[in-house]
Symmetry: C2
Subunit: 325 residues, 2 copies
């Protein structure tokens, strides 16, 4: 890997991924460690520092910057983490701490926004000025690029597309609302719907339950995807419901944002790629024709490295556009 | 009115409003004519030209530009009207026709976007870089300013916020989808809901029916607003349902766009100003706290002149930012 490079860091609830990223979005050497949530910010920051130093040493050259994506709300001006529920963080001055320890310019952003930045610069959104990324994993997150800029909003929380309401009478969401897109099509919601369905119809749910080792609480989106592949009726019905909800949410996004590309990624989409066609059909049937005509629905291409690619790229580009984070 | 000025034109389905607008957003002399829909584009364009010439003659100075807002899809590059269902227009080269006849730089935009531009520059959104305008009239339209730019999207149709899905099992919308915000909270939807409710419960609907002259088909959002002011239970219930739907839609908008100001306007909001407080309460209960904290919910202040102010201002500003239309 030649030329200037940055360290991209993706801080997730279970693992921290750090990698060298160059201007072409190529990922070189990388390091993965388990996230030491119980150790608090201090332990995690120490692990990030360790990773950056190791990558630098092995590279034999200094990084031009460090970019960190983290699941939480980030203060745009200071790069502090206001709130990261999965890590239990509140008001952690991540950027200041990293910069002080490393002496390297650092940028901190939301993890999903980092992934969107990666897909925009080096993935499925490359060359487009208007894209929407929808990541369907345990929850649903996303990012929006409009007129060639990443939307960040008034207080840097724009793009919470998992929490658009698609059924105002729908089931409760973890956010306190009802009928959010995430509460109908996210991985945790799929698992919840499966548990309820199995309770109501134990016979129909036998296959699902068996595949989860007989423990209802262990039925996950992944179990459902596997059962659906075997033709299990209940699993297929659960995916049909989730697909319908995801399509409805995407109709809202296409009508509101009018993107050129709607990019679908995340564990659930990777496990059930049929969802992409389901969304296409939903848009055909229900989106405004003028908005539908403008948008191509495509899978994300960077997969699990989108976060590090995006965070690293952000660090390389940040000097020319402070507004992009 | 001193200094440079432009003509702002608001082309609606029933009337054309044209006015002198200066850099301060002040409206001077104005002309209103009925929209000659049956005469086709030729008749309407002739009326616009006539209005511009009359305003110019009376002013004794030439306008710096002409801005026209029109209910339809506009081609961003050519200023042609791709489709304006209410006028029955398809592919009308409005900008080219006006420029050729007048010899004055002209900008053509969507009418609701023009109004949003007016509120942004000279109304309730003044000084903010992130605003969402929601206009609740017969239908629901809106506009979004993000990071100091009007969102236009990939094919210039961004901001169709009346057609975000808020109830995927909801009643049909005119757009072909179901459960759109407009299909639950727009003026026509309120009237439809009233008709259904009166049919089901003629006794409870007596007041509403009487106020509409005994003709069910004549019950309108305005009838409902008047009946609600008198304490009519059915009217109050209709407004409660519509308010709940409007609040749910605004939760989606606040979570997705994270605006600093959410601006509510349009005939239904003007007639039922309590809807503004209903939206505030809905956001308190259901929006993501970080997004809720950043947004102030306020009424539009320019009222029916927002369109001409916005279109005229756009014409005055267009040279410095072609991207704003």
């Amino acid at each position: 890997m030649k030329g200037p490079w940055a360290v991209g860091v993706d801080v997730g609830a279970t693992k921290i991924e750090a990698a060298r990223v160059n201007l072409g979005g190529m990922v070189g050497d990388s390091i993965r460690t388990a996230t030491n949530v119980s150790g608090g910010p201090k332990a995690i920051i120490a692990d990030i520092l360790e990773a950056v130093r190791t990558l630098t040493e092995r590279a034999g050259s200094d990084p031009a910057g460090v970019g960190a994506g983290i699941a939480g709300q980030i203060d745009r001006d200071t790069g502090s983490v206001r709130f990261a529920p999965n890590l239990g963080w509140r008001d952690v001055p991540l950027r200041a701490d990293l910069e002080e320890a490393l002496g390297i310019d650092t940028v901190v952003t939301n993890d999903v926004r980092a992934a969107t930045f990666g897909e925009w610069l080096h993935g499925a959104g490359r060359g487009y000025n208007d894209i929407v990324c929808v990541y369907v994993g345990t929850g649903i997150g996303g990012g929006v690029v409009a007129a060639g800029r990443m939307l960040s909003g008034c207080t840097n929380t724009a793009g919470e597309i998992g929490h658009i309401t698609i059924d105002l009478n729908g089931p409760p969401c973890t956010c306190g609302n009802r009928g959010c897109l995430e509460a109908l099509a996210g991985g945790w919601a799929l698992a919840r719907a499966a548990r309820l369905m199995i309770e109501e119809d134990p016979k129909g749910g036998r296959t699902l339950l068996e595949m989860a080792g007989g423990i209802t609480a262990d039925v996950s989106a992944e179990t459902i995807a596997r059962a659906a592949k075997k033709g299990d009726a209940m699993a297929l019905r659960l995916l049909e419901d989730a697909g319908r909800a995801l399509a409805a949410g995407c109709v809202s996004l296409v009508n509101a944002f009018n993107p050129c590309r709607l990019i679908l990624g995340g564990g659930v989409v990777d496990g059930v790629p049929e969802l992409i066609d389901r969304v296409r059909r939903g848009l055909d049937q229900r989106a405004l024709p003028a908005a539908r005509a403008g948008v191509e629905v495509v899978p994300a291409v960077l997969g699990p490295i989108a976060g590090v690619v995006g965070a690293g790229s952000l660090a390389l580009h940040i000097r020319s556009d402070q507004g992009q984070a």
